[in-house]
């Protein structure tokens, strides 16, 4: 009966729901008994997690938890088949026993692990590509809002950098270098088969910064993350895969497992380990007076002289106000997760709930997330399965303007207001200086908040059509409602003239996708064959509705309904894509592997004749350690060689209608509607394509106590999607074009070792390092990044700084000497030149895990070397008196040239000449290398005897700290900064909240 029903029901999604509703819990066979036990490693007696425990005849199974424990309902006369990666299999008869503890011995080969890849899973052994897998457990101790930031330093070749120290803010994420200028460089994120949006929907500006939509996902619900790096792994994702693909698998229940409850909680604090060094009031006054005198103006009228003489008072009379310590605080961190998972022989489930709250170290910035996760799989009969993954979350942020721009800028008000200037006017009202808001007003009254409601869901049906032929249909949606509000009260600069200013913006973004795949597997003799074909149809629509109100009765009324003057606006845009794809896998004898992938994509974004693009890849691998001549070498336990090549595409970041000539409305005059030319289209616009080759070697030594993965890669991106500058005499400043080429080449090395492993004590180490060389191979016209210190020029790498080169400060005159690069006898715009770039030469991480009896200890460093930062904050703070009472001055300014013979790089203070007016200047380019003690964790698992007494499975308590040590050369508080979420700007500091130092105490309980 079931069978007939599902056959007709399958393609109709609404019947899936009906099916869910009618799912009944199966009744167990009379002869089953509950069995539980612990699986340990022979010798070390260390519990082994993730061991498959299966009843041989009943064909039901589970796997062990992190304490090596399992529980299963099995027929009392069955045999347990116990298998684990890197261990020999064991068969253990049940014989009616309810407690079965088993020890298993390690084997030499670690390639048995199963890795999630695009549209499937493969054993690590059969991989021809470079795929890194990270278990969520390994990275969970870093108390940040999103999993992408937790990955920092964990995966070779993946460069991750937080733009600011504010939780939930944007992350700079690159897999194997920057491949694009305008089409985006973020990888494709796929969670349980759903292509999710990772572009911020934020519309109310926080001045350049943007929220990170990935923070909507609770890291605690994640089981593992696969990072697909090379073309063989990513080509199946075709036109969106050029920047790599991140596959996220969330936690699911286990069949035939009693309900398992996991509870985790932590509580902690965060603070800024270092802030900026500003001069005192008297020092500020001295500098300004010095500029006055050096400018040749009469000392009698210097600004800081006696008040009775009309001055601002003598330098030594100036007070000093420390606004930085007003704005930075010790923030609270708290996190609670609770999950229940389990299953019977037909159904498995995972239900998780979480709450996370993080106060930023910078006042008025908070992040809160409440999340709910529900995953269900149901076997309808022996051939048909259906299931669903659902994630619902609400992220609530209180924001502030933390980036560029004085108006309402909370960090700017603290960092840039000269320290000698008072907080209040003589009449007791709030004083405002130099275009900045009064900091106390901002701290008290900043009211910006946003709520993100996110649903990411998927339903699938799977049917075994023939013994080896499987059909799968999958329907997914990523829906995000991003609701922002700001109210600037009448004391703030933004709200004062307008008697209050409120903005509401509601963005709704929906990405829907449906995919159908057919897969076939066969193993005739020594041959092993896998085939996958599929198609996908998807669409995306974003609508934005916004309103603004001014002129409020008073500051108690904050909603636009109370405003006397209102304006509103709405917009909507979308795009669609259809795709077909396929994969062919073949191996002979488990030694020789070949794989072929292809995807065809058509997107509505491109010109009608250029809509289709095809992306193939081919990969080969040889598991040499299976050959007898290597198997005999004792030291070598694993040796595998891989090679692949393929083409992938990129279409992000460009407008939905970039191929067309468009006119825009909204250019009104005299309150009548007006229209203007908006865009010059390019009907030939098409994909950006990246050709990538990868050579890899996997080496295991000494029974895989040492395992090494090494990859060499080369990426060549052509037909760059580029806003090509046009002569503006055309009336347009740029046109979307396929122009330019970028290459990336480099290597990645990962080493993990088991240094000590015995019953009492284990110590494992993993280290990774990557090196990437990026070069713009072809670019007809240089392109400036949005902050003009960076320019893209053919022959140089992306994120290169383009500046006037300060050679030295003349010891005789104290004047800065700039390089006359074109040798025409004067300093002009032509003398700017490339001076370093913001990309690290080397980056990676080093992790050590130690376990002694119940204690566990881990220490993790991440590092990067060779990247430069343009410290524009210093340009403002070291302005040689040119900014007088309008900007704070930093301590480094005190190192200025004062008298003939002084050797310094800080020129003579003056408002004249080019000492302090030329910009951007190489003096502000600094080394951004750092080594950070990313996390440090000490945990203790309570003895089993104790925990069973209180009817729990295990209890672990721990303390963890982040960012407890930082080695840097950078003058600012933290080299991990960026002024903006604009992906083409990197390493540009305009005063950014530093990474917090944190300490947290937590407990993990499993029942």
């Amino acid at each position: 009966m079931y069978r007939n029903r599902h056959v007709t029901a399958l393609p109709k999604p609404f019947l899936f729901i009906t099916t869910f509703l009618f799912v009944t819990i199966a009744v167990y066979a009379q002869t089953t008994i509950p069995v539980k036990g612990t699986i340990r490693e022979t010798g070390t007696q260390k519990p082994v997690a993730g061991v498959s425990v299966k009843a041989k005849t009943a064909n039901i199974g589970t796997s062990t938890d992190e304490n090596g424990q399992f529980s299963l309902l099995v027929p009392s006369n069955d045999i347990l088949l116990i298998t684990a990666i890197g261990h020999t299999a064991v068969e253990q008869p049940v014989n009616g026993q309810q407690l079965i503890d088993v020890t298993i011995a390690t084997t030499s080969n670690a390639l048995g692990e199963v890795v999630v890849v695009g549209y499937g899973a493969q054993s690590k052994k059969s991989l021809v590509s470079a795929v890194a897998t990270v278990k969520a457990d390994e990275i969970k101790n870093k108390p940040v809002a999103s999993f992408d930031q937790q990955l920092q330093g964990r995966v070779a070749g993946v460069q991750i950098s937080a733009n600011t120290g504010i939780p939930g803010d944007g992350i700079f994420f690159r897999i194997r270098g920057t491949t694009s200028i305008n089409a985006g460089n973020d990888p494709l994120y796929v969670i349980d088969g759903v292509f999710i949006n990772n572009q911020s929907l934020q519309k109310i500006t926080t001045q350049g910064q943007a929220n990170n939509p990935l923070a909507d996902i609770n890291p605690a619900d994640i089981e593992s993350i696969s990072v697909l790096k090379d073309a063989s792994a990513t080509a199946i994702y075709g036109a969106r895969a050029a920047n790599g693909v991140i596959l996220i698998t969330t936690k699911r229940g286990q069949y035939n497992t009693l309900p398992k409850v996991n509870a985790n909680a932590y509580y902690g604090s965060s603070w800024a380990p270092e802030l900026w060094d500003l001069v005192t009031g008297p020092e500020h006054a001295t500098i300004i007076n010095e500029a006055w005198i050096n400018d040749g103006k009469p000392a009698s009228t210097r600004p800081f002289r006696l008040k009775s003489e009309g001055g601002r008072g003598l330098p030594e009379e100036q007070p000093t106000y420390d606004r930085l310590h007003d704005i930075f605080r010790t923030g609270n961190l708290q996190n609670y997760d609770l999950s229940v998972s389990g299953g019977n022989d037909k159904t498995r489930y995972y239900i998780g709930g979480g709450y996370n709250k993080q106060q930023a170290i910078l006042r008025t910035n908070d992040f809160q997330r409440a999340s709910f996760k529900f995953n269900l799989d149901q076997q309808i009969n022996s051939k048909v399965r259906i299931g669903s993954s659902n994630l619902l979350s609400r992220s609530y942020r209180t924001n502030a303007r933390v980036g560029d721009g004085p108006q309402g800028g909370i960090l700017q008000a603290a960092l840039h207001t000269p320290t000698y200037l008072p907080k209040f006017n003589d009449d007791g009202t709030y004083a405002k200086w130099a275009g900045f808001d009064n900091l106390d007003v901002l701290i008290k009254y900043t009211d910006m908040h946003s709520t993100s409601i996110r649903y990411i869901g998927n339903m699938y049906g799977e049917a075994d059509l023939l013994r080896n032929l499987k059909f799968r249909t999958s329907w997914s949606i990523d829906y995000n409602d991003y609701n922002e509000y700001e109210y600037w009260n009448s004391l703030t600069n933004r709200g004062s003239a307008s008697k209050g200013l409120a903005t509401s913006s509601i963005s709704k973004n929906a990405i829907w996708i449906t995919e159908q795949t057919l897969s076939y597997k066969a193993k005739p003799g020594q041959h092993s064959l896998g085939v996958l074909v599929g198609n996908s149809v998807q669409g995306a629509v974003e609508t934005v509705t916004s309103a603004q109100g001014t002129n409020f009765p008073n500051d108690s009324y904050k909603q636009i309904a109370s405003a006397a003057t209102t304006t509103s606006s709405s917009s909507s845009a979308g795009n669609r894509q259809v795709s077909v794809f396929g994969r062919l896998e073949y191996n002979y004898g488990g030694k020789y592997f070949a794989e072929f992938n292809v995807r065809g994509d058509a997107s509505s974004k491109f010109g009608t004749n250029k809509q289709w693009g095809y992306f193939p890849s081919v990969g080969l691998a040889w598991l040499a350690s299976e050959e007898s001549f290597i198997r005999d070498v004792n030291a070598i336990s694993t040796l595998k060689l891989r090679a692949n090549i393929g083409i992938t595409g990129n279409q992000n970041g460009i407008g939905n209608f970039a191929s067309r000539n468009l006119w825009n409305g909204g250019a009104n005059y005299l309150d009548n509607p007006g229209t203007v030319p908006q865009q010059l289209g390019n009907t030939g616009l098409s994909w950006e394509t990246t050709r990538q080759t990868n050579l890899g070697i996997d080496l295991g030594l000494l029974k895989d106590h040492i395992s090494i993965e090494f990859n060499l890669y080369k990426k060549y991106t052509s037909d760059l999607l580029l806003s090509l500058p046009l002569p503006v005499t055309t009336g347009f400043s740029s046109i979307s074009s396929n122009a330019g080429e970028i290459s990336n080449k480099g290597f990645e090395l990962g080493i993990s070792t088991t240094n000590i492993s015995n019953r009492q004590f284990t110590w494992t180490t993993s280290f990774n390092i990557a090196h990437n060389i990026n070069k713009i191979e072809k670019l007809d016209i240089p392109v400036d990044a949005s902050y003009s210190a960076e320019r893209m020029i053919q022959g140089y790498s992306m994120h290169s700084f383009y500046v006037y080169n300060q050679l030295y400060v003349d010891p005789q005159t104290g004047d800065a000497v700039y390089e006359d690069y074109v040798k025409d006898g004067k300093i002009t715009a032509d003398d700017r030149q490339i001076a370093g770039n913001a990309q690290p030469k080397y980056f990676g991480g080093l992790n050590n895990n130690l376990r002694y009896k119940g204690f566990d200890f881990s220490v993790f460093f991440n590092f990067q070397f060779g990247n430069k930062i343009f410290n524009n904050n210093r340009f403002f703070h070291e302005s040689g008196g040119t900014r007088d009472d309008r900007r704070a001055i930093n301590k480094n300014q005190l190192n200025r040239w004062q008298k003939p013979g002084d050797i310094t790089e800080v020129p003579r203070i003056t408002t004249l000449g080019t000492n302090y007016t030329l910009s951007p200047v190489s003096r502000f380019i600094e080394d951004g290398s750092f080594i950070r003690l990313s996390t440090l964790t000490l945990g203790y698992t309570l003895p089993k005897k104790l925990t069973t007494k209180i009817h729990t499975n295990s209890i672990r308590i721990y303390a963890s700290g982040a960012n407890w040590w930082l080695w840097k050369k950078y003058q600012g508080p933290d080299p991990e900064i960026n002024v903006t979420s604009d992906p083409n700007v990197q390493g540009y500091d305009l005063g950014t909240p530093p990474q917090p130092r944190t300490i947290q105490f937590g407990i993990n309980i499993s029942l």
């Binding site: 409305g665 309150d671 009336g731």
Partner: protein
């Protein structure tokens, strides 16, 4: 079994053969081919043209600021290096404010070119001949003003007189000489004069607006007779154009389009004047990044020099005591007009034109009309040189926050002695280096 395969196949075909599915249309924009098709869309395009003229990069603030910052009386208090370079008259070719003015002007020209190209060909019966003429006339006028501004700021420029439909449309055009550029201005002004009605509209171009710009044009051309006669055409129209008393009567108390204005751009909450919060101090919700410098404050406050034009400035409460400009103050509505041509300018144009024709008494009458309005006693100058200097000084305070001082000093050749600039190459702005790079047919201005 076969049912599965059919289903799959059907799905496959359905989704892959879907050209229609991929045909997504924009909802917020329209294709350029249907942008101007009838009376309604032509009118919208003309509105868009005024919007371009009043955009932030052009008369909405930036272009005006180039003139007053270069003029030496205004300081820049903000952090950006581009305006501080301008205030220090130490321009480099990568100055972003110069580049954005250049861009805003050529964008305005593009809109005008579209109207000039398409409107004559429209066949909508609702679009009367009078309307057609008016729209084209407005486009010719604005294009004339745009090339006039390019010429006085950068010298001879590339003359673009047709719309851009593809990226190669304007390729290969080199810079015209200064004379050729001014010839283009005159040709456009003549066309506009013939097409526009002789009505009074202070916010849009009419024949009278053309006359006023012609007066200024001939002043720059040193054609004193014509400058005088075109200025007279406006001044003599006393029913419509007159000097208002006191000085601030043309801008204070939220007035717009007063009898003082020959041409001002109107702003509204949906089209804000970019200037509106840059001059006010933080205490009044502004940024005060442009502010009168000490020298100008002193002069404006001198009753014998500034007269009642001290109403242009005010000071904040202690301990700040910051002087700020008050010409642009309508925060948050942003409805401050941009003053492009006021009748005061026509008096000073005519005064100068008359000095050059040695009609000194008449010249003094015009000058004193402006002085009288500012609450000043008649000028004491007697020689032509002294009167010219008096006119120059009058302009300095009369148009302190408008687009005049720099261009006027360059025009009269006095810029080297007044602002101490010895290199004549620096009398024009640099051609933006980004444009030099993007366009191989564009030659830079010497000296940058």
């Amino acid at each position: 079994m076969t049912r599965y395969l059919y289903l799959y196949l059907a799905f496959f075909l359905l989704t892959t053969s879907c050209r229609k599915f991929l045909n997504v249309q924009p909802q917020q924009q329209v294709d350029a081919s249907v942008a101007i098709t009838d009376a309604v869309s032509a009118e919208a395009a003309v509105n868009g043209l005024y919007n371009r003229l009043g955009s932030d990069g052009y008369y909405g603030s930036n272009f005006i600021s180039l003139s007053y910052l270069m003029g030496g009386d205004i300081q820049w208090t903000g952090s950006q290096s581009a305006p501080s370079q301008i205030a220090a008259r130490a321009l480099t070719a990568d100055n972003s404010n110069i580049a954005s003015a250049w861009m805003a002007i050529y964008r305005t020209i593009l809109s005008a070119n579209y109207i000039i190209d398409i409107v004559p060909r429209l066949t909508d019966p609702l679009l009367t001949e009078a309307k057609k003429n008016q729209y084209q006339g407005e486009a010719y006028f604005i294009r004339a003003l745009a090339y006039f501004d390019l010429a006085r700021a950068w010298g001879g420029v590339q003359l673009i007189t047709s719309p851009t439909y593809s990226k190669t449309d304007q390729e290969g055009i080199r810079r015209s000489s200064l004379a050729e550029t001014y010839a283009q201005v005159l040709s456009d002004l003549d066309k506009a004069e013939a097409l526009l009605p002789a009505t009074v509209n202070r916010n849009k171009a009419t024949q009278k607006t053309v006359w006023a710009l012609k007066a200024r044009f001939y002043l720059y051309q040193q054609d004193w007779v014509k400058a005088e006669s075109y200025a007279s055409k406006i001044i003599d129209d006393a029913a419509n154009y007159k000097l208002l008393k006191p000085y601030n009567a043309f801008f204070a108390n939220n007035v717009t389009a007063t009898a003082e204005s020959v041409f001002e751009l109107a702003y509204s909450t949906s089209f804000k004047n970019g200037h509106y919060n840059w001059w006010l101090p933080p205490a009044l919700g502004g940024r005060r990044e442009w502010a009168p410098n000490n020298n100008l404050v002193t002069l404006l406050n001198d009753p014998a020099i500034g007269g009642n034009r001290n109403s242009l400035i005010a000071q904040t409460a202690p301990p700040g005591n910051l002087w700020y400009g008050k010409l642009y103050y309508r925060n948050p509505t942003g409805t401050d007009p941009a003053y492009l041509m006021r009748v005061a300018e026509l008096y000073l144009i005519r005064s100068e034109a008359r000095v050059k024709q040695t009609k000194l008494t008449q010249a003094l009458t015009d000058l004193n009309a402006v002085r009288d309005r500012a609450g000043l006693s008649p000028a004491t100058a007697a020689t032509p040189e002294a009167i010219l200097l008096a006119i120059e000084n009058e302009r300095r305070f009369e148009f302190a926050f408008e687009a005049d001082r720099w261009f006027n000093l360059v025009r009269t050749g006095r810029v080297s002695s007044v602002l101490n600039i010895s290199d004549p190459n620096k009398f024009v702005f640099p051609i933006p280096i980004s444009e030099i790079i993007a366009d191989k047919y564009l030659d830079p201005n010497l000296g940058y």
